[in-house]
Amino acid sequence: MIAALALATALIANPVVEVIDPAATYVSVQAIIKLPELSPHDQAAAALLAEAIAYDVDGYSRFTMRDIAARAGDAVSVRLMPDHIRIQVGVLPQDLKVGVAMIDQILRGSKLPEEALNKAIAERPTRQRSLWTTALWPFHYTFSRMKQRDVMELYHRICRPDNVWIAIGGPIKPGEGDQLWTARTSDWKPVKVPKAAIDTSLLPQEISIKGPEAIVELRGPEFAGNDPALASQLLALIGLGSGKGSAMFTALREAKGWSYRQEAILWPTANGFVPRLILPSSDPLGPAELAKGAREQLLGALSAWTDSDLARAKGMAEGILLRDFELSPLYFRPTRPIDASLHDRTFMAAYWPMKTGQAWLPTGLLEQMKSINLEEFKSQAKGMLEVAIPRLIEAGGG
């Protein structure tokens, strides 16, 4: 009977993903909790959960966890994205077992104390709201009427073995991470999940921002993580807005002087991804005219794309996927793209299968891009732009 139960758990839990890096000086232990489509109230609860989940857990105070991570010069960190919560800690190789135990306890034994939740409710709304952060997260959470039990309920709803992806990276032996995790969590059983109320309304959006800068966004259509055209969509985004040879840089910044930073990014959502073309600008035209003008300029630029633009986009894609360029559309961290660190490589090894059903193989993605011709490149970008919805935040708000 016990064996049968263990087998059932093993079938339900996602496999532990390992990233072996013998040269690394620390081990990255991560849990990625998938977020479904959430109501605005639950999204606010998720924001609080991310703040408080590692504050105090059974067996480990946050200071104990801080001290263990500090031995590796690292820290426990929790990041919220629209489609997941990422919990991460770096530990010394000899502390791997305790690192695994800490992540397990955070997932199963978080106390979510009122103190931590109240602190988060007080601090979160006033935390750094730079222009770019606001552009990426152009909405605010409503914490009124939030109760500890709401956050706790969400915690139990999403922290289930079948909804969590574990990744361990660093100087570990093959199978070591899996073995440690499995041994520790063999008693972790899926529980009956209460159904959440269906509420697909949107979070309140920012309508204006203090200062002279407005934020203009052209948001393309959402597509599924397993969309067969993912490589093509990504290449189109790179053509439009990654690098200084991109259409946004040349047509909006260099030709028009509308902005300093303008990027086309791949933004995760609960149901897949959305392409987002973002530019903050103080140009007197104002956001509505800028959005219109940006679309026209970009359509004009891409209609003139040649094989040279395709070659540049493919070169840039190679730089992003294989050479870890900073200027990347892969915005899977709250305010910036993923990077080449062991933490982010470990994250991608678990996140990409969760998101797309495929292993994270940058060379494979690049191989798919190589077969894309100019016509497809232009058509994908054009299709994205033509139906993109403008989202505007006016300048001069309070």
Partner: protein, 385 residues
């Protein structure tokens, strides 16, 4: 017995260091090559010291403006060529030097050097080009995040004119003319202010020879370096832009025990909070180590001023500071940054000096580092929101 032991220790220290070669050319330019065979890419970083062109109220932001104008190349085609070849160029202006970094593949060093050669050719600008770029830079300044804004305010409060933010302001940069920028070019790219670092999967001798070809023909600066005298003082600035609060310890050069102690203390304090930042850009001159938070009510200052047991954070601070330095030295880009920034300020400067200070940091020094962040000794920058 003592001597053999010493030799053993020295041998051990030497074997732990990767091979690297620093070459000082006759004209004063310095080249450092660090082969890192396991790295995927080569980082080629040219650093131009600000020693002949320190920020003043009259030229505030000109180096930054110049950086924008020269990195595109005279035909505005450098980036396109690089990106097509899966390479990348980025540039950044710091107080002590301007950085130009090329990321290229192991077999693409000639492309990196061709790009740098183009950038170093004497540029010429029109007023229209300058005006257009200043317009774009106004947008850049608006994008500064809270830590950068708090840092800028703290520097200004601590060091006044010699603490001016190298990014400049619109009010100063819009007065730039082609003539004024030409003057900056001549001073900033004098050979004895240049440091070139090549790190990654490269051949030590070949890369050094290429660096020599690039920088060897350049003329030495004809003027005496104008090092700003940074005399800092504690204080408080309550109208920083943005939100949040930062405490900044006034520290001597990067290789002093006080600086390392303040860095370790700042990192330890930051670890007490969920969302805190630490900023320190290594400088051979006096500088600031900042710790801050960006919430409107941070609790940071009260925590620092009332903290009673600094010894309890000694190990945490040391470990975090050690890794803060070491992580940069594990990547080709980080090596280029840290070594280049320090070399541009003096050919004898090495990041290992920071590590050495850290290795011998005592609890008493760490406590002094904590005290340097207390309000009577530090600069407090509080945002006006």
């Amino acid at each position: 017995m003592i001597l053999p032991l010493l030799v053993a220790v020295l041998t051990s220290a030497l074997t732990q260091e990767p091979p690297r070669l620093r070459t000082i050319l006759d004209n004063g330019a310095v080249i450092l090559v660090e082969p890192m065979p396991k790295e995927k890419t080569v980082s080629v970083q040219l650093w131009a010291s600000s020693r002949y062109v320190p920020e003043t109220e009259a030229t505030h932001g000109y180096r930054h403006l110049l950086e924008h104008l020269i990195v595109t190349g005279p035909d505005h085609d450098l980036d396109r060529k690089l990106e097509t070849a899966a390479c990348f160029l980025k540039a950044r202006t710091y107080r002590d030097a301007t950085q130009m970094e090329l990321t290229v593949g192991a077999d693409q060093l000639p492309l990196a050097f061709e790009t740098l050669r183009t950038i170093l050719r004497k540029p010429s600008f029109t007023q229209e080009q300058i005006d257009n770029e200043v317009k774009v830079m106004r947008e850049e300044l608006a994008l500064l995040d809270e830590p950068a804004k708090l840092s800028s305010a703290a520097w200004r409060a601590a060091y006044e004119e010699s603490g001016l933010d190298p990014l400049g302001t619109f009010d100063s940069m819009y007065r730039a003319t082609p003539g004024k920028l030409d003057e900056i070019v001549g001073k900033q790219f004098a050979a004895d202010g240049l440091a070139l670092v090549i790190a990654g999967p490269v051949d030590l001798d070949k890369a050094t020879a290429m660096g020599r070809d690039l920088l060897g023909p350049r003329a030495k600066g004809s003027r005496k370096p104008v090092l700003p005298i940074r005399e800092g003082h504690p204080g408080r600035v309550a109208d920083a832009e943005g939100s949040g609060e930062a405490r900044a310890a006034l520290v001597p050069g990067f290789n002093s025990p006080q600086t390392v102690a303040a860095l370790a203390a700042a990192l330890a304090i930051a670890s007490e909070f969920q969302n805190a930042f630490v900023t320190y850009t290594p400088t051979a001159q006096k500088g600031l180590v900042l710790v801050g938070r960006t919430e409107s009510s941070t609790g940071l200052g009260a925590f620092i001023d009332s903290f009673k047991s600094p010894a309890s954070l000694y190990n945490v601070g040391r470990q975090l500071a050690h890794e803060w330095i070491q992580r940069q030295l594990r990547t080709s880009s980080g090596v280029g940054y840290l070594r280049g920034l320090l070399l541009a300020q003096g050919v004898a400067n090495r990041p290992e000096m920071l590590l050495e200070q850290l290795d011998t940091l005592t609890p008493a020094q760490f406590e002094a580092g904590m005290r340097a962040l207390m309000k009577d000794n530090a600069v407090t920058a509080v945002a006006s929101e």
